[in-house]
């Protein structure tokens, strides 16, 4: 007889970043059904779903509702850092845990959160270390106007300075804004070596489209000379970008390998990470069905977990996953693998960041 355990699922199935949220949702739901179908698992997971519909003010009340109206002590959910930060006080009050399956800007290690996607030493740092020697060190920084863009670009400013480059511009758009003409004008005028794109959802799609138009007028802005770099772009959003994405770069713990993919293979790292979150949670709950946030750190110590990222560990101290780091180049509706690093331990506070090691020497000047 399997013990029945309720878990919360909190994703916005509509709104400007619904493609990402739906990818996460698909991964979580598939993992739940895989756990339930596995006769060896010993537990049956029941999803208690709520949909904030992309409205930031709905996250905290709906998370609270899950925790009050069901026996769930774990919630898989939240896409934006803003929404994660909205639900944290609810988790602290109720003694619950959030399983967070998206890349984020780092500088957080809350014991009520398990960080299952990349933090900056697993996305931005390796991405710029790869790009600077090949394209140059002068960047133009874009972001949606909230914490992900602000903080990721702040780290990028420091990295660019360490690499001997200049930040030629830094611009923010409100979430959902699709008028990117001014950004394009500024990029055209400043001719950077790369563009770091921390726009999300529809703003990001609009930017890719406008930048492809710019590249048609001026070959400097082709992806082979001045690529758009993203730390959160996956297959989930490529259909919305289309051919405008071709040749540009993204980093993540996983890109779908079309050559070896089966029906079971996650379509994106969001799906893979949400799937991994439920799988790790299921293993913890199978050991101890009553495990709450306070038991997680002990449960992670010395244990590895089978996930779509391979066998991974979760650092008991920071509750961040050790993950592979891949850089991919967009090719039609998928990514070609450009580089792959196995098992990068999380360093959410960049406490072990080393300028010389990241950029080869103390101050690298790239002559392009």
């Amino acid at each position: 007889m399997k013990s029945r355990i309720e878990i919360g699922v909190l994703y916005s199935r509509s709104g400007s970043y619904q493609l990402v949220a739906n990818a996460c949702h698909a991964g979580a739901m598939r993992a739940i059904s895989d756990v339930n179908a596995d006769p060896a698992s010993g537990i049956e997971l029941v999803a208690i779903e709520r949909d904030p519909g992309g409205n930031i003010d709905r996250y905290a009340p709906l998370c609270d509702e899950i925790l009050r109206q069901s026996s769930a002590r774990h919630v898989v959910g939240a896409v934006t850092s803003w929404s994660r930060k909205e639900v944290i006080p609810v988790l602290e009050k109720s003694g619950a845990a959030l399983w967070y399956a998206c890349p984020y800007e780092g500088f957080e290690a809350n014991e009520h959160v398990v960080y299952m996607h990349a933090c900056p030493n697993q996305h931005l740092v390796p991405l710029l270390a790869h790009v600077v020697p090949r394209f140059g060190a002068n960047g133009f920084l874009l972001g949606s106007n909230y914490i992900w863009g602000w903080e990721t670009n702040r780290v990028a400013r420091d990295l660019i300075a360490d690499a001997g480059g200049k930040v030629l511009g830094e611009r923010y758009l409100p979430i959902g804004e699709t008028d990117v003409s001014r950004l394009i004008e500024e990029i055209k005028a400043t001719k950077p070596s790369f563009i770091l794109n921390n726009l999300i959802g529809t703003s990001s799609y609009a930017f890719f489209a406008a930048y492809a138009d710019l590249a048609r007028d001026d070959p400097h802005f082709g992806p082979e000379r001045c690529p758009i770099l993203s730390c959160n772009l996956t297959e989930a959003e490529l259909p919305a970008i289309g051919a405008a994405g071709n040749g540009h770069l993204s980093v993540g713990p996983y890109f779908r390998d079309a050559a070896t993919a089966t029906d079971e293979t996650p379509a994106s790292s969001f799906e893979a990470s949400a799937y991994a979150s439920v799988m790790v949670l299921a293993k913890v709950l199978a050991q101890n069905p009553d495990a709450g946030f306070a038991e997680l750190s002990t449960a992670f110590a010395g244990t590895s977990f089978a996930t779509p990222f391979g066998s991974i560990t979760v650092d008991p101290q920071t509750q961040h996953a050790t993950l592979p780091v891949e850089i991919g180049r967009i090719s039609e509706l998928g990514f070609e693998r450009v580089s792959h690093i196995e098992r990068v331990a999380p360093d959410p506070y960049l406490s072990r960041y080393d300028r010389a090691r990241t950029f080869g020497r103390a101050r690298l000047k790239v002559v392009s």
Binding site: N110, H112, D158
Partner: protein, 202 residues
């Protein structure tokens, strides 16, 4: 001005937590270790090796001067006060120790990172200010020496005060020392040669 290191490399830094064994110590240690610091907890005294610490967190509720291997307010590193009771006497005591940041108890899941950054910056600013004040005080104290040097130089034939001062400045530049140091040398030379014929001076 050189660019400040923005990515705060706190990895491997050592923090001492001076607090009786309590859940507060656990909460602080957890956050510090997650950030990448080494943590040493101690009570009731800070050991001598705390002098080499990068940060010291100290309890205000039960703290007293003899716990520290330095005089009140003279900590050689950034310190963070752990305040539980907000009794005015205790806050006064924490102020006397010139804590660079504070953390209210009970300590939850956050707060340590911002306390570290605030403490580090305000400690650096405080130390820079203190160094500047010391340097200025030294210069003020040397005013009399400058007057004596100018008097000594203007004692020579046809040299008025203004020219003597200009001469002193030129000497300081030649010797590549501060005006005050140059004045001190001139005064010393003058005193040494006080018994000799002034006209033989170079």
């Amino acid at each position: 001005m050189s660019r400040a290191a923005h990515i705060p490399n706190l990895g491997g830094a050592r923090a001492f937590v001076l607090h009786r064994p309590h859940a507060t110590v656990g909460a602080i240690s957890r956050q510090l270790q997650a950030i990448g610091l080494e943590v040493v907890d101690c009570w009731p005294e800070l050991p001598a090796e705390a002098l080499a610490a990068d940060f010291v967190f100290f309890d205000v509720d039960l703290g007293f001067d003899q716990q520290f291997p330095w005089p009140r307010g003279a900590a050689p590193m950034p310190t963070i006060a752990l305040i539980g009771s907000e009794a005015p006497g205790r806050i006064e005591w924490a102020l006397a120790h010139k804590a660079d940041a504070q953390l209210l108890k009970p300590v939850g899941n956050a707060g340590v990172y911002s306390a570290l950054l605030i403490a580090r910056q305000s400690f650096a600013a405080r130390r820079q200010l203190a160094d500047e004040i010391t340097a200025l005080q030294q210069r003020v104290a040397e005013r009399q020496t400058i007057v004596r040097a100018v008097t000594a130089l203007s004692g020579q034939d046809g040299v008025d005060d203004e020219r003597a001062y200009a001469q002193l400045r030129a000497l300081a530049m030649n010797w590549q020392v501060s005006l005050e140091d140059a004045a001190r040398r001139v005064v010393a030379l003058t005193e040494k040669e006080a018994g000799l014929d002034q006209s033989h001076r170079a």
